[in-house]
Amino acid sequence: MPVLVGRHVTPPEFRVDPDVDLHVPADRGELAAHPTAVLGTIAAGGVLGALARAGVQAAFPHAPTGFPWATWGVNVTGCLLIGALMAVLTTRPTGPLVRPFLGVGVLGGFTTFSAYAVDAQRAVAAGAVGTALAYLAATLVGALLAVWAGDAATGRLLARARRRPEPTGEGR
């Protein structure tokens, strides 16, 4: 087995959008090849993610003028996990439905932008402008730090796993 030290398996095209990026050949062809499987998998993952989010939001409700901690936690956690997931998916081969299920479905359905925007708008309307601004900034900063941390930590773990010699292998 070749030892890849500190080297990423370069994907055919550099992916920006984890949901679907038409610059990536596999993404371009997946819907035409398996429309029912792809859309059904995304729907199933989306249901699981949305129910998990609703569960967290129901467990930790907030007043219109309060800080929406549940949605903040959901969004930051989802960003940490998409960073970790995509670090795996861009370095090693996986099944064609893993990204649609976990990335587009579960994490896309778990995290939400509409509740973020509307909760901030509601806080402004209720006169809690400071809370609204703090929430807007805390989610933005938390989401970006989390996705970076998830990607960096997973990338490091994967690189360490590749460096470790195979127990039954013949060295190099």
Binding site: V16, D19, V20, V47, N75, C79, G109, F113, S114, A115
Partner: protein, 120 residues
């Protein structure tokens, strides 16, 4: 019942995000992720509109928590911003992150104001 309505909304919202993202990219080849911005702004507009009326719990579960929640996403937005930064497209990354926040808040406010104005 609430669980079923959230599930139904999400089962429509998540695939619609994927299909919209594809459709936007197919018509508009750009390094900037317009597709995700489109769903996030549209979902914020719709949820803002729902927030303006005393909606029934069933409508909030189906359209708000389920559909709008699954249509819109923070995970996709944050990963795109990370990748744009890695690509060296710093301005695109900043515009994607800050532009989404400003456009989303604007859309939520607009949806709320429009429905309030229509309701009188």
């Amino acid at each position: 019942m609430t669980v079923l309505l959230i599930a139904l909304g999400a089962a429509l919202g998540a695939p619609l995000r994927y299909l919209t993202d594809r459709a936007v990219q197919a018509r508009h080849d750009s390094p900037f992720p317009w597709g995700t911005l489109t769903v996030n702004v549209a979902g914020s507009l719709l949820l803002g509109a729902i927030a303006a009326i005393p909606a029934e719990a069933a409508v909030t579960a189906l359209v708000g928590t389920g559909f709008c929640g699954a249509l819109t996403t923070w995970s996709t937005l944050s990963y795109e911003t990370l990748r744009l930064t890695r690509q060296g497209a710093r301005w695109h990354a900043v515009a994607n992150a800050l532009g989404s926040v400003v456009a989303g808040l604007g859309a939520a406010t607009l949806g709320y104001a429009l429905v309030r104005a229509l309701a009188g």
